[in-house]
């Protein structure tokens, strides 16, 4: 019975200065069974087990329960006084596609063209992005990476954040098609005073947006017809790419915010029978009935945001999750505030607790709900037997920055290295000044 806990702490805090980021290695596959004992286990489905044990073997959660049930067949991690959570899931992100937003050469998120369903984010996902480890060390173990640009920018893939390359990283490959709803929000008059370089084209922008939407529906109609026939003289890659939508192997992630846009999104359920997820959804709280009726789930884009309107309740973004929760809408809390700030995902959920959620509901919103929405709840999202051992250990409440210090994390049972660039630079200058 080795005491792995100390070793994990060492990986996290002491050994850092000896390694550059380039020697932070992805962990190898789990060989030895691990028991996490004496922990407060937050299952992710609302359940909390005090002083419990999690058994991890072959990368899976083999057992979860109250009491110290460590066997003699593996390592024991004593997490006394600590909290065990399912790995957090960042449900919507451009992690690994964008390194430094204003430096064009580091941006691989937007392709040219309006309808690009065959574009795949995963092929540009850079596992060596310096940002990834800073998220992982805050407990985010999975991320859904999507491309941007145009109306149908392509497919997203869920990645796990401890990988040598994108093929290793892929956790649920190409499992979503993304759709950028053209804005149905009237813009401030006449282009003057509100330009992004180019002048606004003439005519009603809403009408233009609706025309663009209709054009995209034509694409889906033709794709559906195409899918009905098995053989084609000319293979259409774009149609091929969306086949999964019609069989519900893929979901359609519609990025939009206001009610009118959400109502248009409903069309995709009604006409095509797609599984639709609203991403952004800052006004989703106004139409929870509609969302429920059509089984549309929501990924809230950014909690730490200002209200949409000057007149809105000043804390509207903070309380939107609790409104969705009460209405019974399936939702996840995201953080699309740039890749680097996504590491605040847990604190976004924490804010939602201050404005109406219970802590366990908030946790579910960044774990199990996210897994359900991303279609990976059979594999992850909670600490339940049979699921991948994607697990995070925190000294205190993970939702509160004053206590959220991550001491260990497991992805598919692999004890991952929580070193990141920031810990290394911290150590380097603590060394310089002789402080710690």
């Amino acid at each position: 019975m080795k005491r792995l806990f100390l070793q994990l702490v060492m990986i996290g805090f002491l050994v850092v200065s000896a390694k550059a980021q380039e020697t932070v290695y992805p962990a190898p596959a789990q060989k030895e069974t691990v028991y996490i004992v004496n922990a407060t286990i937050h299952v992710g489905n609302g359940q909390v087990i005090e002083n419990g044990t999690v058994k991890i073997s072959n990368g899976k959660i083999a057992a979860v329960g109250a009491g110290n049930n460590a066997g003699s067949d593996g390592k024991v991690v004593d997490a006394k006084g600590q909290h065990v959570y399912p790995g957090l899931i960042l449900p919507s992100s451009q992690l690994g596609l964008v390194e430094v937003p204003p430096v064009r050469a580091t941006v691989d998120s937007r392709e040219l063209g309006d309808i690009n369903p065959s574009i795949r984010s995963i092929v540009a996902y850079n596992t060596d992005s310096k940002v990834i480890n800073t998220l992982k060390s805050n407990g985010i173990l999975l991320a859904n990476v999507y491309p941007d640009g145009g109306i149908i920018p392509g497919s997203s893939t869920v990645v796990q954040l401890d990988a040598w390359n994108w093929e290793d990283a892929a956790y649920a490959m190409d499992n979503g098609i993304h759709y950028n709803m053209p804005s149905l929000l009237t813009r401030r008059g006449g282009g003057r005073g509100f330009g992004f370089g180019a002048a606004q084209p003439a005519g009603d922008p809403i009408k233009r947006a609706l025309d663009d939407i209709e054009e995209s529906k034509v694409f889906f109609r033709e794709a559906k017809a195409y899918a009905a026939e098995a053989t084609h003289a000319a293979t259409n890659l774009k149609f091929e790419a969306v086949k999964g939508l019609f069989t519900k192997k893929q979901k359609l992630y519609i990025h939009c915010n206001i009610v009118k846009e959400i109502l248009v999104a409903v069309d995709f359920v009604k006409e095509f029978g797609f599984d639709v997820v609203i991403v952004g959804g800052s006004d989703s709280w106004l139409v929870t009935d509609v969302l429920k009726q059509y089984n549309i789930s929501v990924i809230l884009g950014q909690m730490h945001d200002l209200p949409n309107m000057v007149d809105d309740d000043i804390d509207q973004p903070f309380k939107t999750p609790s409104l969705l929760q009460k209405a019974g809408v399936l939702y996840a809390i995201g953080d699309e505030d740039g890749n680097t700030r996504s590491r605040n995902l847990a604190f976004n959920a924490g804010t939602a607790v201050a404005y109406g959620l219970t802590k366990e509901e908030a946790l579910t919103a960044i774990t199990l709900n996210a897994a359900k929405i991303l279609g990976i709840a059979d594999k992850t999202g909670s600490i339940e037997v049979g699921k991948d051992a994607n697990i995070v250990i925190s000294v205190g409440d993970i939702l509160d920055m004053k206590s959220s210090v991550i001491t260990a994390a497991f992805i598919q049972g692999r004890a991952v290295d929580l070193t990141d660039k920031h810990k290394q630079l911290k150590a380097r200058y603590e060394h310089k000044y002789g402080i710690n």
Binding site: P102, L185, T186, R192, I314, R341, M401, I435
Partner: protein, 1034 residues
């Protein structure tokens, strides 16, 4: 054919222009046609001026001027007599704010953060340095009569205008001209009548100024430069712009402000340079009428009241602002508010999208409280007096120009029409067909082949007529003032027989020819026997106008009454003192007269309002060292050195973020200039006194600061079309600093030398005024203050090289940098910073949003603190500012900082670096009662500010907030109902829905210090993306 037609039209126009007195020096092509133009208008109700109405009076004009006016005035023999029975005659109106006859202006785009730079003026010639200072423009020299535009103004009752070119910050002189269709020489009443200014650089394509505060600074420096130029400095040569500036200072100085806050800004510039501007206002001054009244300026008021919004789509209405709705309701009260405040004002057609709305909007202003007398004065005497032309226009007095209108009734009555507008003694028809009211009872006689028939004919409203001989026959009529058409029908159905008549009118006698159903022609005459008498007005008496109340600020969550200072006793709180006492449990804090007066156990005060703080936490208010809220502009990016600009010149209190940040416990914010250039502008410290005006927001008695910036933003790394503004590297940034302080040193020395010489002047001799020799330079003045430790630098900075370089420049010039803000690589040179004595204000965990923050780490604050620096966590962001307590708490997580130290990073430490820790920053007896009561440990994600107090006044209270949400919703619902009723009303009257506009989403402009890629809701516009900075917008 076409050619000939054109020629005759041109000849006619020429002839028109020559009727009356021809201009002596001009050649006449044809036979001279000199006329005296003597007219006598008799039997009129003459309104001589707003105070004097003479019934049954006569007005005599000759040669374009008024000869006599009054009751019983003799009619000259050579006068053409015009009978004005039942008519009113008024002096025609004067519009003091037009660009009538001015050439069109080519508008240029404003400052674009990412766009190219134009550092010098494009104006060729011996003019000044800045393209927006256009004092050399003389409107009289570019004025061209434009009869189609003149007609549109004449049709509204105007006879005289002041015209100037509405372009630029200084706009040159204006010309007073009549709206007669004559040669320019004859219509100009005064060629240099006024001098004009604004805060909008208009067509100038020069980069500077690119902001509100830059415009203000440019004006201030221009006053100084022009005064200096009077001494003919050889270093300036001939500067026609300044020469013209100086020549026009004795004229009425008119400032286009267009907004309540801009009015105050303009007035302050005037106060500084001894000028009382006449201020061209907007329509929102009623929102701050007491401040506006305090300027004691004369005002020019436009009547462009907002059109009602179409509110039939709830999804669109979702994005309509309460303030926009309230403004729709209250804007028509603006003129009345000026009257009530006792201010002198004029009215103008300026800013109306549709000139035709003038009459209706004027009546609306009257309906909303403006008196008819004041309205009349505002359109006649007041503008004439301001422009010094009341001896020529503005009333109907002998000797003045014969500029008057003849109306069918009282001018402000809805049913009244303007019949004729006489300008300089010449008649311009407006609605002449209405001169005669054709309605009434006539005797109609038809004669055909000796037989004559007589009818009693009654012409009624809506073109219907009845003809009574034996039976009553129904018919129709039409009348255009001269020609008349009549018809009546005998019998019904297929056998109906129609008789048609047409003719001309000669007063009340008509005659013409007709044709009956059988084709027999006849002649006819008709004479009026009895005019039509309108039935007593059965319309409902007008309901007095009911409107909502003004709130402070004029925004959702504004208060009708500002919250008051109270004596407050917080009982049983966990008090985070930030002092050596640390965190005190179960402790009471007593607040009185805005100060913390007692801290301890079991305190009591019978006068105090007691707040049970059991289980709650009390801390000092959050202080944000780096904020960009509540300002009309933030970045003056036009040049690399703009130390002359001042955020304090453009504080904008109507910012919802003040309230939102109070809800996050913020009580003091340091409003910084942006980071577009190396030496930015002077900063402004404010307290978040929600509802206070711009001056009241300012933190009194605080040391002045200035913003500097280094790195990517100032070398314009993000410029989309390349950078042409020095510097382009960090090497150049350092040299911009060195150069600026070298120039400031030389400047200081030159002034000192002159002062020394002046002190040695013997008795009887006069000393040379230093500023007559050395140009007073607002830019260098601010830098001299820095070198003399009277102004302090907060410097936007990221990487260690630039941090060190900045410190070394400061040391070279004998001062210290006060604060490095952002300072994300501060941890790398914390020891050097410590040695220099600089404080650090940083982000908790932001990084990698651009190249220079690649090495930013969340342990930065803690490392710098451990090395011994005073460290703060700032926001630079309207959203993050309301979570600064939690941002500070991240140092606990990432680097093990203690909770107390973490809290100090957003309270006491920023107070220290802002030199205000003697007043705020901790819970200590004697300090300002800027306090926050939190629901939880203030460093927890679960903590909410329950009450936020500034100066002992509770500006945010979570319980009251819940009430205000309801009030906002209710007020919005009321206004929407009112709009819906207005629309129903318009529809019912067949008004075609009226002038309803599509709902306009209520966008907010957000300022940040360069781009952080931090999102702010749906309806915000990043200021850096604004193509045009429209002064009146924010």
């Amino acid at each position: 054919m076409r050619k000939i037609k054109f020629f005759s039209a041109a000849a006619l126009a020429m002839l028109m222009a020559l009727v009356g007195r021809a201009q002596t020096t001009f050649q006449v092509n044809g036979v001279a046609d000199q006329r005296d133009g003597v007219y006598a208008f008799i039997n009129a109700t003459v309104v001589k001026d707003a105070q004097t109405t003479i019934p049954n009076a006569t007005l005599v004009i000759k040669d374009g001027k008024i000869v006599a006016v009054g009751a019983g005035v003799a009619v000259p023999k050579d006068a053409v007599i015009v009978d004005c029975k039942d008519k009113f005659i008024y002096p025609s109106f004067i519009d003091i704010y037009t660009d009538y006859g001015m050439p069109a202006i080519q508008r240029a785009a404003g400052f674009n953060f990412f766009g190219p730079t134009q550092l010098n003026s494009n104006q060729k010639g011996a003019f000044g340095w800045n393209q927006a200072i256009r004092s050399d423009v003389d409107a009289s020299k570019i004025f061209v009569v434009d009869d189609s535009k003149a007609k549109s103004l004449r049709d509204l009752g105007f006879g005289t205008v002041l015209s100037h070119q509405k372009d630029g910050i200084a706009r040159g002189t204006g010309v007073v001209a009549t709206l007669a269709n004559k040669k320019e020489n004859m219509v100009i009443v005064k060629d240099k009548a006024s001098s004009h200014y604004s805060l909008n650089k208009g067509s100038s394509s020069q980069s500077y100024p690119s902001s509100m505060m830059g415009s203000i600074s440019l004006l201030r420096q221009s006053y100084i430069d022009a005064a200096w130029y009077k001494n003919n400095p050889s270093s300036e040569g001939v500067n026609l712009t300044m020469k013209a500036w100086n020549e026009q200072q004795n004229l009425p100085q008119i400032f286009e402000a267009n907004d309540k806050w801009n009015d105050l800004r303009a007035d302050r510039i005037g106060d500084e340079f001894g000028v009382q501007y006449i201020i061209k206002a907007g329509t929102n001054e009623y929102q701050r009428i007491s401040e506006v009244a305090a300027t004691k300026a004369s005002y020019i008021l436009p009547l462009n009241f907002p059109a009602p919004m179409d509110v039939d789509d709830p999804q669109e209405v979702r994005f309509v602002g309460l303030d926009d709705l309230k403004h729709w309701e209250l804007a028509p009260t603006n003129p009345a508010a000026f009257e009530k405040a006792g201010l002198n004002f004029c009215l103008t057609t300026s800013d109306l999208a549709n000139l035709g709305d003038f009459g209706a909007n004027l009546r609306k202003a009257i309906e909303y409280g403006l008196s008819e007398t004041k309205a009349m004065e505002a359109l006649t005497k007041n503008p004439a007096t301001i422009l010094g032309v009341y001896d020529k226009v503005g009333s109907l007095d002998a000797g003045k120009l014969a500029n008057f209108i003849i109306t069918s009734g009282s001018i402000f009555s809805e049913k009244t029409v303007i019949l004729q507008n006489w300008v300089q003694g010449e008649k311009y028809g407006v609605k002449e067909e209405a001169w005669y009211d054709a309605k009434g009872t006539y005797k109609l006689t038809t004669r055909a082949a000796g037989a004559s028939k007589s009818y009693s004919m009654e012409l009624k409203d809506g073109g219907t007529a009845s003809f009574i001989e034996k039976d009553t026959l129904n018919g129709k009529y039409s009348f255009d003032g001269k020609q008349v058409k009549l018809s009546f029908t005998e019998g019904r159905g297929p056998n109906a027989k129609e008789t048609t008549l047409s003719g001309v009118s000669n007063g009340n006698e008509w005659n013409g020819t007709g044709r009956d159903a059988s084709g027999v022609n006849f002649t006819w005459t008709a004479s009026m026997e009895k005019p039509f008498v309108a039935k007593a007005d059965s319309a409902r008496p007008k309901q007095p106008v009911q409107v909502g109340k003004v709130t402070y600020p004029f925004l959702a969550f504004g208060n009708e009454e500002l919250p008051k200072q109270e004596t407050v006793l917080f009982k049983n709180a966990t008090v985070w003192t930030n002092e050596k006492e640390g965190v005190l449990k179960e402790t009471d804090v007593l607040v009185k007269n805005g100060k913390i007066v007692q801290i301890g156990k079991n305190l009591s005060d019978p006068t105090a309002k007691v707040i049970d703080a059991t289980g709650k936490h009390l801390t000092a208010g959050v202080i944000d060292e780096h904020s960009h809220i509540a300002a009309a502009s933030i970045n003056e990016g036009g040049q690399s050195v703009t130390s002359e600009v001042r955020i304090g010149d453009n504080i904008a209190p109507d910012d919802i973020n003040i309230y939102r940040q109070l809800s996050g416990g913020v009580t003091t914010s340091h409003i910084l200039h942006g980071s577009a250039n190396t030496i930015g502008g002077q900063t402004q410290l404010i307290k978040l006194r929600w509802g206070a005006n711009d001056e009241e927001l300012k933190f009194k008695g605080a040391d002045p600061f200035i913003k500097f910036a280094l790195g990517e933003n100032v070398k314009r790394s993000s410029a989309t079309q390349g950078n042409t503004r020095f510097p382009d590297t960090r090497m150049g940034v350092e040299e911009v600093l060195a150069d600026a302080f070298q120039r400031a040193t030389d400047y200081q020395n030159a002034l000192k030398k002159l002062a020394d010489e002046a002190s040695k002047v013997k008795k009887g001799q006069t000393a040379v005024s230093p500023y007559s020799v050395v140009r007073r330079d607002l830019e260098l003045e601010a830098l001299v203050e820095i070198m003399n430790k009277k102004r302090f630098i907060t410097c936007h900075s990221y990487v260690q090289s630039e941090i060190t370089a900045m410190m070394r420049v400061a040391e070279r010039f004998g001062f210290r940098v006060n604060t490095f803000t952002h300072i994300l690589e501060g941890y790398k040179v914390a020891d050097k910073m410590k040695e220099h004595g600089v404080a650090a204000s940083t982000f908790s965990d932001w990084w990698a949003y651009k190249m220079e923050v690649q090495d930013a780490i969340p342990a930065n604050a803690t490392i710098m603190q451990k090395v011994g620096l005073v460290v703060a966590i700032n926001s630079d962001d309207a959203e993050m500012a309301r979570r600064l307590n939690q941002e500070s708490a991240k140092s606990i997580k990432y680097a093990g900082m203690s909770e107390e130290d973490a809290l100090k990073m957003c309270t006491l430490n920023p107070a220290k670096m802002l030199h205000i820790d003697d007043k705020v920053g901790s819970v200590k007896v004697g300090k300002d009662a800027d306090l926050v009561l939190w629901s939880d440990n203030p460093l927890s994600i679960y903590a909410k500010a329950l009450k936020t107090m500034v100066d002992g006044i509770i500006y945010f209270d979570r319980d009251k907030d819940a009430e205000m949400r309801k009030a906002v919703a209710a007020e919005k619902a009321r206004l929407i109902q009112k709009l819906q009723a207005a629309k129903r009303g318009a529809g019912a009257n067949g008004g075609g829905g009226g002038n309803f506009q599509r709902p306009r989403p209520r966008y907010e402009v957000m300022f940040v210090c360069g781009d952080h890629y931090h999102k702010h809701g749906l309806l915000t516009i990043d200021s850096d993306n604004l193509e045009v900075l429209e002064n009146s917008q924010y």
